[in-house]
Amino acid sequence: MPGSLAKDAVKGPPLPPDAGDFGGGGPGGRGTSRRASLTGMVVLLAAITMMFAALTSAYVVRRGMSNDWNALPLPHVLFANTAVLVASSAALELARRRLKSGRRGEFNRYWTAGTVLGMLFLLGQAYAWHELKEAGIFVATNPSSSFFYVFTAAHGIHLLGGVVALIWVSVQALRLQLGPGKRTVVEVSALYWHFLDGLWVYLMVLFLFWG
């Protein structure tokens, strides 16, 4: 019977991968902290997914139920923004791998590039909003525009949080204070960023084919 005294092998969760490195070797050590950070990030991403799933279902329902849906003319800058965001993800990924193999200088360059591209994306999004406003399309103009603004604002706010994290890491790196021990925050920020990148591509598909 589980948990009973019948077979008392000492069981437990598997030791974290780099348990031996930093004197951790079990609960409370750095290894566990790293694993917990990754778990925490995955859980956060699950929540964000759920929120966008709820918005998507509202989108689908609203689009299907009334005859007042006018397809939104997507500002062209969005395509450029998408490319910029994908490029920033690529840069971060390259940076992350450089750090893993100890090439700190290259890490700094790629990470900073990714951060700058990320900020460029947000500027591009602001410009897209500007274009829509110039065309007289506001949040209440049409359900399609309502959802566009809600989705891009929600994505943008999450991305802004990501940019703050990226900048923090950049600053640490440029001050040469980013040792292997801080690798976890790099992994976790990169994961967050890639997720938001993927989320953005999903939203573009939604707007293009279901808008």
Partner: protein
């Protein structure tokens, strides 16, 4: 997101602010949540007493009503809009700031890390932030009382268009409703932060030997509750944003065309009130399991401890918790049988709803199975756990009526529903919190609560809650609708007034009895008998450390776990309980 703390060089804070205000210690945060919930429940209870008074004396002048609410209670008589706003805030405060905080963020924060053998939660800074964000949400919510128009009147469910068109649909629907939405959105953020912590902690911070199948059932319920909250509150946040936009930005997510409210033709078009209901109840149903699961965990823990018997069917209990969690996401439509949604989906939802009754029944049978053949010690904590079982049976069974759409054709929006959810949430879940309080008070504060006062508190409350909420089922059978400020406009309700009067008096009585609890709680904090490490002779990890525990829980050493959590009356063992950390293996 904060970077994880490394505890090997972890120092306890020394300043007052660091120790008691902006503390990152899960134990302090747990107590902070507990007292936030205590404040909220007193506020929520006061609101309900005002409601019950008004239902029975709708025309009575009360001098101080006018002082508190010069417009809404002009002449000392509570207006219907004031009644409805008290009702809305009662439900909101109870569901969010009591039932979603104390059982999970209160006791869970305090005891999850300890019961799994960890020094703290995975993300202590995030934990601190989650409490203060909850506190901010409460401040914003209470602020709704003080703005022009007062608190909203659309119920804790806030259905649009009533909640979506602004002040023209009723007093309180202006700034009050907006603040309500903002408060809930902030609360969603706080809950998500908490959920991340609970899940990461349970998965990654368990001590050596603490496999998932050796975790106490309390930890299982906190874990599954966190998952429910993670997904549920994410959806509520989305819904709240859309509702806020409908109110302030002229969008029409939930508001259709062709509406005339207060003689104004509205400019909205194309939205669906049902969309709000789907989104809200997709959150709302898991929410009620969030409210009850931790209480179930505590009940399992206490029934085993105080019967000196292992929990009956530990594995089945876990499957039941997982089933309740999973199925909890598939039954939201049973709140919408009469809503105009597809009657075919109504059927599907009802079959799933009946199915979710099965794991709940399993848990009840297993609780009785735990007691069977036991050696029962009737401490106050145990009394509340036993009371939980009785109340859960009563409250759960009325769900069998409501889960059938054919019967809901009569019972929807009657007092039958009010009786059902109060029995389950307003009583059983509360009993879970009382049980947890009496059980864990010695550990948290190093002192014992008074058992005599505790037992009197139990018996009078147990009888009191049955007296308040059982009659509601009969009112429902008689067809008494809910959310009515008074019952004087319908002939058929005249004969029901004595029932309302009885319930009101029972409510006054039961509320007064809680003064005993408050006295016991605060008096024992200072004057209670000193508690030993393990006054209840319980097996889980919190009882291996001092009462109250040191800052880092286990004094720097990492506990190792050898057994499951319910090894009581093991044949051949020296005592009638074997601690989880006791390496002595006894074959059986």
């Amino acid at each position: 997101m904060s970077s994880p703390e490394v505890h090997s060089a972890h120092h306890a804070p020394t300043s007052f602010i660091g120790k008691y205000v902006f503390s990152k210690d899960h134990k302090v945060i747990g107590i902070q949540y507990y007292f936030l919930a205590l404040f909220s429940v007193l506020l929520g209870m006061t609101l309900s007493l005002l409601m019950r008074f008004h239902m029975v004396h709708p025309d009575m002048k009360v001098g101080w009503f006018e002082k508190l609410w010069p417009t809404a209670a002009a002449g000392g008589i509570m207006t219907p809009e004031l009644y409805l706003s008290l009702m809305t805030m009662h439900g909101t405060i109870m569901v969010f700031f009591v039932l979603t905080t104390a059982p999970q963020s209160g006791f869970g924060n305090y005891f999850l890390p300890i019961q799994i053998g960890a020094e703290d939660m995975a993300f202590p800074t995030l934990n601190m932030l989650s409490f203060w964000t909850t506190f901010l949400a409460l401040v914003v919510m209470v602020a709704a009382f003080f703005v022009q128009g007062g608190a909203p009147l659309s119920g804790w469910t806030a259905y649009p268009p009533l909640s979506g068109v602004g002040r023209i649909s009723g007093p309180g629907e202006g700034m009050g409703q907006t603040l309500w939405i903002i408060s809930i959105a902030i609360f969603c953020g706080a809950s998500l932060m908490g959920a991340i912590n609970f899940i990461a902690t349970t998965l990654d911070l368990r001590a050596k030997g603490m496999s998932l199948m050796r975790m106490p059932l309390t930890c299982w319920t906190w874990f599954v509750t966190a998952i429910l909250g993670l997904f549920g509150f994410a959806v509520l946040l989305a819904a709240g944003i859309l509702l806020l936009l409908d109110r302030t930005a002229g969008t029409s997510f939930f508001i259709p065309a062709g509406l005339v409210v207060s003689d104004q033709i509205l400019n909205h078009k194309g939205g669906s009130p049902l969309l709000w209901q789907h989104l809200f109840w997709f959150f709302g149903h898991p929410e009620v399991y969030i409210a009850i699961l931790p209480g179930m965990g505590v009940t399992s823990q206490l029934l085993s401890t105080f019967s000196r018997k292992p929990i009956f069917g530990y594995r089945a209990m876990i499957y039941a918790i997982l089933a309740i969690g999973f199925l909890g996401f598939l039954v939201w439509g049973h709140h919408m049988f009469m809503s105009g949604m597809s009657p075919y989906s109504a059927f599907a939802f009802s079959v799933l709803t009946m199915t979710i009754g099965v794991p709940s029944a399993i848990k009840t049978f297993n609780w009785i199975g735990t007691l069977w053949g036991g050696k029962i010690r009737f401490t106050t904590a145990m009394m509340f756990a036993l009371g939980f079982v009785s109340l859960f049976v009563t409250g759960g069974l009325s769900g069998i009526f409501l889960g059938q759409p054919s019967l809901d054709l009569y019972f929807h929006d009657t007092y039958f529903v009010v009786g059902h959810f109060h029995m389950i949430m307003g009583v059983a879940a509360i009993f879970g919190m009382f049980a947890g309080t009496y059980y864990w008070f010695p550990k948290m504060f190093g002192r014992m609560m008074n058992e005599t006062i505790g037992k009197i508190h139990f018996y009078l409350t147990f009888l009191g809650v049955y007296a308040i909420f059982t009659p509601m089922h009969f009112l429902g059978i008689a067809g008494n609708p809910r959310r009515y400020a008074d019952f004087t406009n319908f002939e058929f309700m005249n004969s029901l007034m004595p029932v309302h009067t009885f319930m009101t008096h029972a409510a006054y009585f039961t509320a007064a009895v809680q003064l005993l609890f408050l006295f016991n709680l605060f008096w024992s904090l200072k004057k209670g008998a000193k508690a030993t490490d393990n006054p209840w002779e319980s097996t889980t990890l919190e009882w291996t450390i001092p009462s109250p525990p040191p800052f880092d829980n286990f004094g720097g050493h990492h506990p190792v776990v050898y057994h499951g959590a319910y090894e009581y009356s093991v044949p051949g063992a020296a005592k009638d309980y074997v601690m989880q950390t006791d390496p002595a293996a006894v074959s059986h």
